[in-house]
Structures are given as C-alpha cells and as structure tokens.
C-alpha cells in the first residue's frame, strides 16, 4: 500500500492507495504513527479514496489510531470510503465513534 502525507494546519491528511489487509496493515500503522509522533500531530484524516480492497484489518488500523490520539486529546476521521469498504466498517459499529466525511475539504473544515 502506498501512502501520501499532507500537513494541513496541524491536521495530518493521509491518502491511502492500494489494498488494506493484515499484510499491509502493519506498514500503514507504523508509517502513520511515525508521522504523528515526529510532528506531534493530534488530528488525523484518513482518505480511503484509493483503497481498492479492505478486510477487517482496516477496522483495527482506524480504531488503533483513534485510541492513540484520544489519549492525547486528538481525533481521527475518515473520508471517501466506497460502498464495499463502508460495509466492512458498518459491521463493527465504528461510525458511532469515528466520523465519516464525503470529502477531504469537508473533513479539514470540521475537525
């Protein structure tokens, strides 16, 4: 999986491209955590527009970042999820605690 980071006014926007499964999850989590720690960021936007496949490993990645940032009084949201990715997230009830936005602009304005 390929990740592209953008720093927007103390908000870290990560564009994810490729397939998110158990194999790629570890790399994704390490790269995001590195970037959050290095720049001491508390707000994370995960852009799923380039994610072509995701299994339940993706739920673990998002909730894991949520727990880390909640500890620092930060926040996580996700954007641009397609229908199949949304179905996986919905099974977990994750949207009760993590907000979903239709665009990165909307997310940047609201978190």
């Amino acid at each position: 999986m390929y990740l592209k980071f953008e720093n927007n006014n103390e908000k870290l926007l990560v564009h994810m491209m490729g397939e998110l499964d158990h194999h790629s999850a570890e790399e994704v989590r390490n790269k995001i955590d590195d970037r959050l720690n290095r720049d001491d960021m508390k707000k994370l936007i995960m852009d799923f527009s380039g994610v072509s496949f995701m299994d339940s490993s993706g739920i673990g990645v998002v909730i894991g970042r949520y727990k880390k940032l909640a500890y620092k009084n930060g926040t996580v949201c996700i954007t641009n999820v397609n229908e199949t990715v949304r179905r996986v997230f919905e099974l977990s009830g994750m949207f009760k605690i993590i907000k979903l936005y239709n665009s990165n602009e909307e997310a940047l304005e609201n978190i």
Partner: protein, 142 residues
C-alpha cells in the same frame, strides 16, 4: 458431486493473503458474478486466510489449504490449516472477540465471513487445526 473444483496450498505468510483471495475470485469468475458478489468472496477469503496465518500458525510456519467447488450457481470455499485449533469456537465467533488484543485486531473476522457469505461453518480441534466452510450462491445466473 460438483461441476468444477480447484485446490491450492501455500505457506502461511501474510504476503499470500492477496494471492489467496485473488485466486478464489478468479476461479469464481466463471459463475459470472457481479463486482459486489466477487468483493464479498474476496473479503471473506481474506478473513479466513488471515485467521489461519495469525491464529492457526502464529509464529510457526505452516501450510494453508484452500479448496473451492462450483455446483450450479453456488460457490463453496473451504479454508483449512493444521495449526493450534480453536478452544471455544462459539466465543471466537462473537463480534469483537479477539484472542490477540496485542495485535490491534478488531475481532470482526468471523462476523465479516458470516455477513458476506450465505453460510459459514467452523470445525476445529485443539492441536489439530481448523476448517472453515463457506458457501455463496451468485444471483446473477439465476
């Protein structure tokens, strides 16, 4: 009996998760499924294979087997390993339950398999291994 069948075996390396789901999807494509149906199968296979790799074998390396059968418009996928087996299948299948909270797993694997396939059966014996049998009928043909 069945109309068609395939069998694959591979090492329990996480690199093979994508190989496994794509191989089953390619086999199932002869049933002319919709994109949604094929994504459901890929996701369920990914969950089953990941379980064998993380929980069945863990740090050990072993062989994960997949058999797939086509009968009419129905696909049957059997994912099996000869790993540690599951102590309490009922508990393992509960949403959000994970035996490895250290790994940042969501505990949603069996729930995903159950909701994305028509049926799911789990047979496991401690010390012997686990077999997952999943079925899905493709509506596009009927």
């Amino acid at each position: 009996m069945y109309d068609n069948m395939m069998k694959i075996e591979f090492l329990s390396k996480s690199e093979n998760e994508s190989f496994a789901r794509v191989a089953v999807a390619a086999f199932a494509s002869q049933l002319d499924p919709t994109i949604d149906e094929i994504t459901d199968v890929k996701t369920a296979v990914s969950e089953a294979v990941t379980n064998s790799i993380i929980h069945g074998y863990g740090k050990e390396e072993g062989i994960v087997k997949i058999q797939a059968f086509i009968q009419g418009n129905e696909l049957t996928v059997i994912v099996s390993d000869e790993g540690v087996g599951i102590d309490n299948v009922e508990l393992a299948m509960q949403p959000l339950y994970t035996s490895r909270p250290d790994l940042e797993r969501s505990g949603m694997g069996f729930t995903v398999m159950e909701s994305f396939m028509d049926s799911l059966k789990v047979q496991s014996e401690k010390g012997k291994g686990t077999e997952i049998i999943m079925k899905k009928a493709f509506k596009s043909l009927s």
